[in-house]
């Protein structure tokens, strides 16, 4: 067998592109580029490897998030992000999302966050209107830590969408949702769980040299100004 397919994680370049989830999809569907891009070719080989890579977790590791998903009421993607080395292809991810949706969609997770086990993963989820939010961790992970991450994410999105938790609003502000995921998790490591902090970082509050006011504590006029800007942005599209 090809040595790099046995342990694709040994090459740091490969490991990094695996970590960044679906990003490697940029550029690995032309064969000419495969040969010129060593990391991409390694990934395709690891995909064809029949025995899946089992990452050995020990209790002493820092909590690792495997995926963050936002699906709609039919199980379609709104925004997703994977940090799972065993789920790097779109086909695997889509299959996972189908399983996730089939298992959870009939439950009522509109009040408290709900939880279940799925294929040796712990899945915590919370629904709002036609949006389904999921955070997935390894089987042995502390469930309450996963729940903290989910709550942080859910509340941050809720703040950013100004409480309108609907698929349409989420798609109209997809940049904010994607940034919220980016501020929540970095390569599987929990970056921040405080919804206010996440929302402030996403909207780059403080970047223009202005006073950093948390989104929740804005004055009425500030809120109106921001809302006005939002509306203009949406009309301009």
């Amino acid at each position: 067998p090809i040595p790099c397919s046995k342990s694709p994680t040994r090459d740091p370049r490969v490991r990094r592109s695996l970590r960044t989830g679906f990003s490697h999809r940029f550029g690995n569907n032309t064969h000419t580029s495969l040969t010129s891009h060593p990391s991409a070719s390694c990934i395709t080989e690891s995909k064809t490897n029949s025995s899946p890579q089992v990452h050995v977790f020990t209790m002493s590791e820092i909590p690792h998030i495997l995926s963050v998903l936002v699906l709609d009421a039919e199980g379609k993607r709104v925004a997703v992000k994977y940090y799972d080395e065993d789920m790097t292809t779109v086909a695997q991810q889509m299959a996972h999302e189908r399983n996730v949706f089939a298992k959870t969609s009939r439950n009522n997770a509109r009040g408290d966050a709900e939880i279940t086990l799925l294929d040796h993963h712990v899945l915590v989820y919370k629904f709002a209107s036609d949006l389904h939010f999921y955070v997935c961790g390894a089987e042995h992970e502390n469930e309450i830590i996963l729940a903290t991450v989910l709550t942080g994410f859910f509340d941050a999105v809720s703040l950013l969408l100004r409480g309108v938790m609907e698929k349409r609003t989420a798609l109209e502000n997809l940049d904010l949702v994607l940034l919220a995921i980016d501020e929540l998790i970095d390569g599987g490591v929990i970056l921040e769980t405080d919804a206010n902090v996440i929302a402030n970082r996403v909207s780059m509050r403080g970047a223009e040299g202005e006073q950093a006011t948390p989104l929740a504590e804005q004055t009425l006029s500030q809120a109106l100004a921001t809302a006005k800007e939002q509306i203009t942005r949406n009309l301009l599209r």
Binding site: I62, T116, E143, I144, D175
Partner: protein, 887 residues
């Protein structure tokens, strides 16, 4: 709830019709978006528009659209132009898309300078994001240039920047661990940050930097366990690290206390649920945790059970489920809470509650429990049902008296709708119960024969038919199964018909009374459409006719060849497309080949791991190796195998483990050796054993050396002894590893021609009575007890000293004897002052040994034990007493 559901689905329908038109991405197309991306190159940048185009690109990628490398490169180049704009929201999106594109090494250079500039920006959010992006796309070479900035950023007063640098440190450890290790004093400083997340990231990184230095970790943990951290996530990490340290250190033998246990216990009183739960989880997972240690953890988990949050309930019940596996008696107080969870809205929680209850349940509560479960079963999915059925199987093996009600339950669920996996689990479960509980055989067979009347799965029908053929003839009324079986011959497909024919034939051969009728039925099968069915019918007809009228014997001989080599030789035969017929004698040749080629041996038994642990797999593997060796065939079947014991210290040049296999008259020591150093070759390896004690009992028979000790794999060498009958089988063996060592010349890579002989002293091996004693769970203990001669009964009284509880005392005694508890008698009622446990086992040679164990707890918790032993041979009963009194 159904109303709400219908309403929402109606609403959804409306939305999907209109929704598409309103989606901002409706009709989006990759080519068009790539065209739009040209606006990045304009001299007057429209920040809003650029932001929207980036969002569209990310949307496409997120929906699973792929970009070619050329397209990605083009997008990347134009994106780099956007650093000219000072719009902070646009800049944020630029950071995001660069991470998504993950540019190749030669492209990274283009953004490096822009990102370096942002890393030194006055704006904190630019600094933090630039760090994350740069670390994400950088390679080891570039890292050297930015290292200084990163080190500085770790101790930045802004939490965002510090966190970004620390988390990037986590990822960089995989790229270049040396550089990150140089940060340890800065990381240490960041640990005292006021921001909880910074503290968490710093602690995680510090531990990873130091994790190979056991002393440093232990020091860090000791220091951290004294004062609680501000961040609850960080506190969870401390708990995990403490657990690791506990695992690596031994229990204090004088006081019997674990180091750091007080700390874990104090974390159970933390204000954060996350920390409380982490501590409880860790306590549960401790090695050989005692009931006393478990108690505080179980108490907090019990509180979680009644929480309003599903996640807390789930976490708690999942943890308790683990407790129930090994210490069911320590959580009897939770039973009431768990029973109310059977009707939990969240089905995962309900299922976990049921399986936990089935593990902790007492015999008296089974009826009530089964009633509750029956109502629950109809409204859950198959995958949950499978879990429940598996738990019921365990329960039934534990309380064989209850087989009637449990079997009824199984037959009821078998009749209901269900998929293949579910049905298979039920059938497997009944098969297992039928085989292990003699009283349940008839009922089980009846249920199964009814099941195949209406079974849509060929695989299951065949399996049931085989079982009917195997067990049916020996039941009280074998005639009644014939009808079920013959019905299959009439109604089913060829595969099932063929299985049915075999089953019929078995009835014919075992029961003289039925033979004529079976012959008639088989005669009819000769006209079957299918070749295989006809062949089998014809074969069995001729066999049955040769059996004398009055004799009964089984048609099918048990397979006399070991399976693994048989399979290997059949494969080999199929590969060589020769014309010659398959020769069974080849099989023996094959094992010798396997034995002499360690490489092939490794691949055929699939033992690539260097990690020696005494798991069941290793044991089975070792058993496989033994049974596939021709040398030990004459010893008969293995009576008992003991878990592998390490005979070498960790991290020595050789790794040797020993597994003891006991046979009727022999004992074989199987040494698995592996070489851990690349530049040496060890040849002609053997273990020399000398009995220090027990010389008169064991006589050496043979030593089988190993050609070369493989690197990374295990090679096997054996020593076998014959045991003198009737003597107390106890011995101590001194072991020495002997070998010829050859060094590999580093310049040529070839081994030297001349080696030198060397030896290495291994740990001693003890042989004890328990090696010759196995557990044998009985369903009707009393019956067997009465059949054993009363004159062989030996009674003895023992004092077990002061014990925490009866459970602990019982655990200790059962641990020494290694016998199986019967009829669920190992479960002790809480706060009981006396208890009787029934133990059963086999002594080598198939002699039954039964033990009644009466425990009583006096004042000040001193435990007294009365041990009544009955065995077929008086010396065996004596042996049990010696075993207990010497322990």
């Amino acid at each position: 709830m159904t109303d709400g559901h219908a309403e929402s689905s109606k609403k959804r329908d409306e939305e999907s019709e209109e929704g598409l038109d309103f989606s901002p991405f409706w009709g989006i197309e990759k080519g068009a978006v790539l065209q739009e991306a040209r606006c990045f190159n304009e001299s007057q940048l429209d920040a809003r528009r650029c932001q929207q185009v980036i969002t569209k690109l990310l949307y496409l990628s997120n929906q699973g659209d792929s970009f070619t490398r050329v397209e990605a490169t083009e997008v990347f180049f134009s994106v780099t132009k956007l650093f000219q704009s000072n719009d902070s929201n646009l800049r944020r999106m630029v950071y995001l898309i660069i991470k998504e594109i993950c540019p190749s090494a030669d492209e990274v250079i283009i953004v490096t300078s822009s990102l370096m500039k942002d890393m030194n920006s006055k704006i904190d959010l630019y600094r933090s994001n630039a760090i994350r992006v740069l670390c994400n796309i950088t390679d080891a070479g570039l890292l050297g240039q930015i290292e200084r900035y990163l080190k500085q950023a770790v101790v930045d007063k802004n939490a965002t920047v510090s966190s970004a640098a620390l988390v990037s440190g986590h990822h960089l450890l995989q790229v270049n661990s040396e550089i990150v290790k140089r940060w340890s004093s800065e990381v240490q400083e960041a640990m005292s940050s006021k921001n909880p997340l910074v503290q968490y990231h710093a602690l995680g990184l510090l531990h990873r930097i130091k994790q190979n230095d056991r002393l440093a970790v232990s020091k860090l943990v000791t220091q951290l366990s004294r004062s609680p951290l501000r961040s609850s996530l960080a506190q969870c990490l401390v708990i995990r690290y403490v657990a690791q340290v506990i695992k690596d250190t031994k229990v204090d033998e004088v006081t019997g206390e674990r180091p750091f246990f007080d700390f874990l216990e104090s974390c159970l009183r933390h204000k954060s649920e996350t920390v409380i739960f982490e501590a409880a989880r860790v306590i549960i997972e401790l090695n050989e945790v005692t009931t006393r240690e478990l108690q505080p953890a179980v108490t907090v988990l019990q509180l979680f059970l009644s929480s309003s949050k599903p996640i807390l309930r789930f976490a708690a019940i999942r943890a308790l489920n683990k407790v129930a596996m090994n210490n069911p008696s320590s959580m009897t107080n939770c039973n009431i809470d768990m029973e109310s969870m059977i009707s939990d809205q969240n089905r995962s929680i309900a299922t976990l509650a049921i399986t936990t209850l089935l593990k902790t349940g007492k015999e008296s509560s089974i009826d009530r429990l089964m009633k509750q479960i029956s109502t629950f079963m109809s409204d859950i999915q198959d995958e949950f049902k499978v879990v429940v059925v598996e738990a019921i199987q365990e329960l039934c093996l534990k309380f064989p008296h209850k087989h009637r009600i449990l079997m009824n339950f199984l037959s009821n669920v078998l009749r209901e709708e269900g998929g293949f996996e579910y049905k298979k689990t039920i059938v497997d479960c009944i098969l297992c119960l039928v085989k292990s509980i003699p009283d349940a055989t008839e009922a089980g067979l009846t249920h199964l024969s009814e099941f195949i009347e209406d079974c849509e799965f060929t695989y299951l029908s065949s399996q049931v038919l085989h079982l009917l053929g195997e067990l049916g003839p020996s039941t009280a009324d074998p005639g009644k199964y014939i009808r079920y079986i013959y019905n299959r011959v009439i109604l089913e497909n060829a595969t099932i018909r063929a299985s049915a024919v075999c089953a019929l034939a078995n009835f014919g051969s075992c029961s003289v009374a039925l033979r004529d009728r079976v012959l008639t039925l088989l005669q009819r099968c000769l006209y079957d459409n299918d070749d295989e069915v006809r062949d089998r019918a014809a074969f069995f007809l001729s066999v049955l006719r040769t059996i004398p009228e009055t004799d009964s014997e089984c048609v099918e001989d048990p397979l006399i060849y070991p399976l693994a080599p048989l399979e290997a030789s059949l494969r080999q035969y199929l590969e060589n497309t020769g014309d010659s017929a398959f020769d069974l004698a080849v099989i023996n040749q094959i094992h010798n080949n396997i034995a002499s080629h360690p490489d092939m041996h490794a691949s055929s038994f699939d033992c690539p791991s260097m990690n020696i642990s005494s798991t069941k797999n290793d044991l089975r593997e070792s058993e496989n190796i033994i049974t596939s060796r021709g040398e030990f065939m004459s010893y008969g079947p293995i009576f008992k195998s003991c878990h592998a014991v390490d005979l070498t210290e960790a991290e020595t040049e050789y790794k040797v483990t020993c597994t003891k296999h006991t046979f009727k008259e022999h004992i074989v020591f199987h040494f698995m050796c592996s070489n851990t150093i690349e530049d040496q070759i060890l040849e002609n390896v053997s273990v020399v054993m000398d009995a220090i004690e027990g010389v008169e009992v064991f006589a050496k028979v043979s030593t089988i050396p190993l050609g070369t000790m493989p690197l990374g794999h295990f090679g096997s060498t054996f020593v076998s002894y014959k045991r003198a009958q009737g003597l107390h089988p106890v011995a101590k063996m001194a072991c020495t590893l002997k070998f010829t060592s050859k060094e590999i010349d580093p310049s040529s890579g070839e081994p030297e021609s001349e080696g030198y002989e060397d030896e290495y002293t291994l740990e001693d091996i003890d042989v004890t009575v328990t090696d010759f004693l196995t557990g044998n769970p009985l369903s009707a203990f009393r019956k067997v007890w009465d059949t054993l001669p009363i004159e062989n009964e030996k009674v003895g009284d023992y004092s077990l000293g002061t014990r925490e509880s009866l459970g602990e005392a019982l655990e200790a005694v059962v641990g020494i004897l290694g016998m199986a508890a019967c009829e669920g008698s190992e479960v002790i009622a809480p706060h009981a002052r006396s208890h009787t446990t029934l133990l059963s086992g086999f002594f080598v040679g198939g002699h039954s040994v039964l033990v009644q164990l009466n425990l009583g707890m006096g004042p000040s918790n001193s435990v007294a034990m009365k041990l009544i032993v009955r065995a077929e041979k008086p010396y065996i009963a004596d042996m049990i007493h010696t075993l207990v009194s010497e322990a």
